[in-house]
Amino acid sequence: MKGLLIVSGLGILAMLAEIFKFKKLLFPLVLLGLVGAYVANFIEWDHSYVIGVFNNMIAFDKVALAFSGVILATAFFWFIMANDYFDNEKTIVDHYSLVLFALTGALMLTAFKNMTTLFLGIEIMSIPLYVLAASKKKDVKSNEAGFKYLIMGSFASGFLLFGIALIYGATGSFDLMDIRAKISSYESGSVPVFLNAGIIMMLVAMCFKVSAAPFHFWAPDVYQGSPTVITALMSTVVKTAAFAAILRLFMIAFGGVSESWSMVLSVIIALSLVIANFSAAVQPNVKRMLAFSSISHAAFMLMVVLANIRSNASLDALLYYSLAYSIGSIAAFSIIYTVTKGGDETFDAFNGLGKRNPLMAACMVVAMLSLAGIPITAGFFAKYFVFTTMIGTGYKWLLILAILTSAVGVYYYFKVIIAMFFKSSSETETITVEMPQKMVMILTTILSLALGAAPGFVAEIFKF
């Protein structure tokens, strides 16, 4: 809870900076605040409320804290990486506050206990992102990205709301616990049909947020058009939050009626795996490639939701996966950000990077290996956890499909590596990296190796 308050407070503080002229201090302040929020999480950990506050509107239980921990950590790195995105004197404050507000929304999504908070969380997270996506005002691509994101986002929230409404109609409540109780109170058969309809619609809406096929269309365009750092934010923080939300929603509210949505979900996963990997394989543009890859990763995480939502194992899996994926992406994006400053976002931008900046190339290799899921990077264990959760279930075909497609996945991740070490580029002067980005690269690389070396801790987190 305190974490949430601190972050939203930071947002407001950022706006005050405009008035009281301490913009320079903002950067350190924000980092400090994030650390503070993190600490707050730790303090709350032991005596974390399982029952929510504010009439059970929101509850920072262990799961919530864990996920918000992931989000805060990612955000921490993100701010360091993106620090020179906030250089423009005029807009610095707005950017800071918007990002922080988005973070607030994300944190809400990890902890909501009520449809209202879910809905508000999603919107609070999305609306600033619509703006940020469009924040390169002179750049038509950026505008278009923001616009598309906005239109499709609100269209999706339309369905979300319709679903909520139906569920409210069926259960007479917005409270997840009540809904769950009500659902379980129905003896089978007498469940009003439009309850399921509502669940499906919410599922659809959430799948849109995590950009699973066939609701993924916005992702590539928006990822490409937005400023790289914002793309990074979307593919890490937003995704993690969305998954925390899905986990919560389906674990608490709809866990009881999984048969009504698991079939649909399996199809969605299969579609996402195929479409994402296949179109990523032929992408010349790195950011788009990563967009598709994020879709396939979403599919992997959804598999956990599908496999067994109620077990600790799947909690571990999802948490670890989002952590590994976020760190990997941050590393990748920080490098892409540096490399593509020239403007060229195709793979050729990486040609000869192995010579031009070995350190960066090495980090990129680790990041790519991690995203591709090769030992002993974090990404490997992430996939490993997914497999372990999946293997018991009846979705063998999905497992096989996942393997086949992840073999395809290796292809496009290695295209980067090949470009870096194999292709030679026209310009040969070394690329210089600013200190902050360098720090992020190194730290994230080390982290993804460390997580890979010692993945045991996640299992220790949830013991209830």
Partner: protein
């Protein structure tokens, strides 16, 4: 403990080498690998003196919650494989003295890293650890091939990488499946090899079959077994000679070793049901590859195909799952490792001295360098399994083992005895004999490092052909215990 050292040493060495500059890296790498060899010898004598007393095993917890342990140890077979690795790597490094690569430090660093992973694979006693090392071995070799390979290397090495990765993912699934069935009574799941064995035995036939094929796929691709072999010739040809040596000399053994240690004991029922099929595939591979080898133009490619043939026989022997077969396989793995390294070095020497490996373009080298011809001949005889060369011991045991499984299959597989002679002698005759001198190029005398390498190889070939007892003494009891677990 000692095994742990065997794994750590190359790792540390590789890091040092990465930091080293220029040709210092080369010497350092050689020194390190020799040290590793010495250490492995020490381990060998420890083991020989008293297998029980020799403190080889190393068990530390890695991921408590998932039952993953960092547990390594060596039985006879593993020790042999480690010895092979430790013996070949110095040779490989030595053989590279004549090639002037750029970025020496990364080159040798990667080789040593590879060695670490390989030793790990051969020593792992924990299913998960095994898989991790297995994948780990893939990365250095990928970069070796990608950075120092021949033309069109990007596509080819990539194909190799994805192909093998694809297989090993299935293996992972198989292993996880076993893992999920461990600890039925204790309730505590574990990756320990014995638990996996037990879990495997408790499965019914269908489950075992599934596991069998999933795991076998990975190994079959690595070896490679027909018809999963098409990545191999291209990769061998494109890779730098040292890379090829690593691939064929040691890495290939990962597959066969895997079948012995990680496949036979976990799925005995499936083996009875499907072993025949797998053996058939292997045997087809033998004849098929030998035939193809006959018509090869590029000598390196010829060796690549011959290697497919050899490994086919090995896998057939293993899958026949009897003492002679498996022991023969172990022996043959060693011999093949040594011989093929020799052959690839020869291919490299040919290229360096004459500028081509095209069999048709070569000829009459015997006139120019008799010594080379003799060494070549000896290695060649080793690979056609002439008695009193190391190749023969293994081949005899293997065919013997396969025969006990099915006489017809043995006869079929035995064709390699003939075909091997055909393509090897044909190529030897075309390259070395005859009047024609190679396009007027003077072949010249061998460089010291090459000469030393070849001589060492030849000595080993003959020594273990005449007196294979040390190898057998290690292999026999280990194989016996392993097979006893199948019952």
């Amino acid at each position: 403990m000692l095994t742990g050292l065997l794994i750590i040493l190359p790792l540390v060495a590789s890091l040092l080498v990465f930091l080293a500059k220029g040709s210092a890296a080369r010497t350092l790498a050689l020194a390190a690998s020799v040290a590793e060899f010495a250490l492995s010898l020490f381990v060998y004598f420890q083991f020989k003196a008293n297998p029980a007393a020799a403190n080889l095993a190393l068990n530390c917890t890695w991921v408590e919650s998932m039952g993953i342990k960092f547990s390594v140890g060596l039985d006879g077979i593993g020790l042999l494989m480690v010895l092979l690795t430790a013996f070949l790597v110095p040779l490989i490094i030595l053989s590279s003295f004549q090639n002037n690569y750029e970025k020496l430090n990364s080159f040798y660093g990667l080789i040593l890293l590879m060695q670490m992973a390989l030793v790990g694979v051969f020593a792992a006693n924990d299913g998960f650890l095994f898989y991790v090392f297995w994948e780990l071995a893939l990365i250095p070799i990928y970069f070796i091939c990608l950075l120092w390979g021949g033309e069109n290397r990007a596509a080819i090495t990539f194909k190799f990488f994805v192909y093998t990765l694809f297989g090993s993912l299935f293996m992972l699934i198989g292993l996880i499946y076993l893992y999920n069935h461990t600890g039925l009574e204790s309730g505590i799941k574990s990756w320990a090899i014995n638990d996996l064995y037990a879990a495997g035995k408790n499965l019914n036939l269908d489950q075992q079959s599934a596991v069998f094929w999933m795991i076998f796929l990975a190994f079959a691709i690595k070896m490679p077994v027909f018809p999963l072999h098409t990545w191999q010739p291209d990769t061998y040809v494109t890779a730098p000679t040292q890379g090829t040596m690593l691939l064929s000399g040691i890495m290939l053994k990962m597959g066969t070793f895997g079948v012995i240690k990680w496949l036979l004991p976990v799925a005995p029922l499936a083996l009875e049901k499907w072993g025949g099929t797998a053996i058939l595939l292997s045997s087809i591979g033998i004849v098929y590859a030998s035939c193809i080898a006959i018509v090869q133009k590029d000598y390196k490619r010829l060796i690549a195909y011959s290697s497919i043939a050899h490994v086919g026989l090995i896998s057939a022997g293993i899958l026949s799952a009897n003492q002679q077969g498996v022991q023969g396989a172990v022996i043959q793995m060693l011999s093949h490792g040594v011989n093929v390294v020799g052959l690839f070095l020869i291919a490299d020497i040919l290229l360096r001295h004459t500028g081509t490996r095209e069999i048709e373009k070569l000829g009459g080298i015997r006139n120019m360098n008799g010594q080379f011809a003799v060494l070549f001949l000896i290695i060649l005889l080793g690979s056609v399994a002439l008695p009193l060369t190391n190749g023969f011991i293994g081949e005899f045991l293997l065919i013997n083992g396969v025969y006990q499984y099915s006489a017809g299959m043995a006869a079929f597989a035995g064709l390699s005895v003939i075909l091997g002679a055909v393509y090897m002698l044909r190529s030897y005759q075309k390259i070395m004999l005859g009047e024609k001198t190679t396009g007027g190029v003077e072949f010249g005398s061998l460089a010291m490092s090459d000469k030393v390498t070849l001589i060492i190889v030849c000595v080993v070939i003959i020594a273990f052909g005449v007196y294979p007892k040390p190898l057998n003494d290690l292999a026999e009891p280990a194989v016996k215990t392993l097979l006893s677990t199948l019952k």
